[in-house]
C-alpha cells in the first residue's frame, strides 16, 4: 500500500485584515499636539500641516482638498520675503516651462490625491480619450485580483474601486446629467470628500499590494520614517501605506507608479541647491518609456501638482 504524499504546507496567507500582533506595554497616556509640543518631535509632514493650518487660520482660508490651477507666481510671492533660495528654484522651474501649480490640502493624503488627479486628467485630455480610458480601466481591473491575493477582503476595497472606475468611465460615457466628464466635473469630484478620499484609499491599497507582492524589491528600503529603523513589509504597509493620512515617501511613489504604470517626475523644491536648480526624482513605469511624466512639486512635507501649460 502506498502512502499518499504528504500534502504541501499551506502557503502563508495574510489573514483578511492582516491584523497587527499585540504586546503588552503600559500606555503613556493621551497626548495632543498643543502649543507645548516640541516641534522637533513632529514629522516634516506634521510640521507642514501645522504651518498651513496656522496660516489658514490667520488668513481665514478654507483650503479645498484640491484647488483650481494657479500661476506659479502665486507660490513665488509667498517666498519673496522669506527665502531667496526657494524663489530662485521657482524661477528655474518657470524657465523650464512649469508656469502653473494645482495645490492640494496638506493632510497626509496629498501625494496620492495629486497623482490621482493628474492621472485622471491625463486620460481626459488624451488625444484619443476612449482608447486611454479603455487601457486605464483594463490596468485598473487587473488590480482587483492582486488586492485579493495579498489578503485584502473584497468587501473592504470594492466600493473604492467602483468610485475610481466610474470616474474614468465618465470621461467617455455620458452620466445621468447627459454630459461626459469635463474640467469642472473633475475638480468637483476631487473636492468631494467621499469621491476624493475613496480614490485616495484605493491608491493606498494598490501601493500596499505592490509592495506586498514584490517584497524583495522593497524590503531593503522599508524604514520607519521617524525612527529610521528597518521594518517588516507587513508592518510598514499597515502603518505607513494603508493607514489614512500617512505621508508617502520614495518607496510608496515607486510602488504606485509601478502598479498604475505611470511615469512620474517629482520636483524637489527644498531651497537646498545653491545654484537655484531643482532636482527631479524620476519614476518610470509606463509601457512607453517616453510618455510624458506626470509632474508633482514637492516641498518638505507636502506635494502639489506641477503643470506646464493650462
Amino acid at each position: 500500500m502506498t502512502t499518499p504524499p504528504p500534502s504541501p504546507p499551506t502557503a502563508p496567507r495574510l489573514r483578511p485584515a492582516a491584523l497587527p500582533e499585540i504586546e503588552d506595554e503600559p500606555v503613556k497616556g493621551p497626548e495632543q499636539v498643543t502649543e507645548d509640543t516640541d516641534i522637533s518631535t513632529l514629522t516634516t509632514a506634521q510640521v507642514f500641516d501645522l504651518n498651513q493650518s496656522l496660516l489658514d487660520e490667520a488668513t481665514g482660508v478654507t483650503r479645498p482638498l484640491i484647488d483650481e490651477i494657479a500661476p506659479i507666481s502665486t507660490l513665488r510671492a509667498e517666498y519673496e520675503n522669506g527665502s531667496p533660495a526657494f524663489v530662485r528654484q521657482i524661477d528655474w522651474l518657470t524657465t523650464k516651462g512649469y508656469h502653473y501649480i494645482r495645490r492640494t490640502k496638506g493632510d497626509g493624503d496629498c501625494f496620492y490625491r495629486s497623482v490621482a488627479f493628474a492621472y485622471v486628467e491625463r486620460m481626459m485630455h488624451a488625444l484619443n480619450p476612449a482608447q486611454a480610458v479603455e487601457k486605464g480601466v483594463a490596468t485598473l481591473k487587473s488590480t482587483l485580483p492582486m488586492l485579493e491575493n495579498v489578503g485584502f477582503q473584497r468587501l473592504a476595497f470594492e466600493d473604492f474601486y467602483d468610485v475610481l472606475e466610474s470616474l474614468l468611465l465618465s470621461i467617455v460615457t455620458p452620466q445621468v446629467t447627459g454630459k461626459t466628464l469635463n474640467a469642472v466635473g473633475l475638480l468637483e469630484a476631487f473636492q468631494s470628500p467621499e469621491v476624493s478620499n475613496s480614490i485616495v484609499v484605493y491608491l493606498r491599497l494598490l501601493t500596499s499590494a505592490q509592495i506586498r507582492i514584490d517584497p524583495d524589491a522593497f524590503a531593503p528600503f522599508l524604514f520607519h520614517p521617524e525612527l529610521g529603523e528597518p521594518m517588516e513589509v507587513r508592518e510598514f504597509c499597515e502603518h505607513f501605506v494603508e493607514a489614512v493620512n500617512k505621508e508617502a515617501d520614495h518607496v510608496q511613489m515607486t510602488a504606485l507608479s509601478k502598479v498604475l504604470q505611470l511615469n512620474v517626475n517629482v520636483a524637489y523644491l527644498d531651497g537646498r541647491n545653491s545654484n537655484g536648480l531643482v532636482d527631479f526624482v524620476e519614476f518610470r513605469s509606463a509601457p512607453d518609456a517616453n510618455e510624458t511624466p506626470l509632474a508633482l512639486l514637492y516641498r518638505p512635507g507636502h506635494y502639489d501638482i506641477l503643470v506646464d501649460s493650462e
Binding site: R15, P16, A17, L19, P20, E21, I22, E23, D24, E25, P26, V27, K28, G29, P30, E31, Q32, V33, F152, Q153, L155, A156, F157, D159, F160, V163, P193, E194, N197, S198, V201, R204, L205, E238, H239, E242, A243, V244, N245
Partner: protein
C-alpha cells in the same frame, strides 16, 4: 445611490449574517448603521476565562474612511476588561482605532484584534493614568488623541 458608508456596512452585516462571527464573538445588536454591539470573550486559556464583555461600535457618515468609535460597554452592570490598554470607562487605547486605522479593516477585524489583545494579556491592570483620564474623558473616545507606544494594537 446609497453612501459608501451605508453600502459598506450593509455588506459587512450581510457577511456576518450569512457566515457568522468568529468564535467568541457574537452580534448582539445591529438595528441601523449608526451603532452595533457585539459580545466578546477570549476562548481557551487566558486571564479573562469566563468573562464576557460587550463592545459598542459607533459609525459616522465617513466610515470606513474614518475609523469607527469603539469602546467596551460599562453600563447596565457591564464592565470593561482590566487591561493595560483599556480604561475603566470602556475606552480603548489602540492605534488601529486612531491614527493607524485603515479602511481595509472591518468591524470583525477590529473585534478579532481586540480579542487577541485580551488573549495575549499577561497582567490584569489598568492603564497607569486611568483615574486622571476617566475624570476628563470625552463621551466619544475618538475625541481623545491617545499617545500610542508602538506596541498597542
Amino acid at each position: 445611490m446609497a453612501s459608501i458608508s451605508a453600502r459598506r456596512l450593509a455588506k459587512e452585516l450581510h457577511e456576518i449574517q450569512t457566515e457568522g462571527c468568529p468564535v467568541g464573538i457574537n452580534l448582539l445588536q445591529a438595528d441601523d448603521f449608526a451603532a452595533w454591539q457585539f459580545t466578546i470573550e477570549v476562548m481557551g486559556e487566558s486571564l479573562y476565562q469566563g468573562e464576557v464583555f460587550t463592545l459598542l461600535f459607533r459609525f459616522d457618515k465617513h466610515y470606513p474612511i474614518s475609523s469607527p468609535a469603539v469602546q467596551f460597554v460599562v453600563t447596565d452592570g457591564k464592565t470593561s476588561p482590566v487591561h493595560p490598554h483599556v480604561y475603566s470607562n470602556g475606552h480603548i487605547c489602540a492605534s488601529i482605532l486612531g491614527n493607524e486605522w485603515s479602511p481595509v479593516l472591518s468591524v470583525i477585524a477590529v473585534c478579532l484584534t481586540l480579542q487577541s489583545m485580551l488573549a495575549s494579556c499577561k497582567k490584569k491592570e489598568r492603564p497607569p493614568d486611568n483615574d486622571r483620564y476617566v475624570r476628563h474623558a470625552p463621551d466619544n473616545p475618538k475625541k481623545t488623541q491617545f499617545h500610542y507606544d508602538g506596541n498597542s494594537p
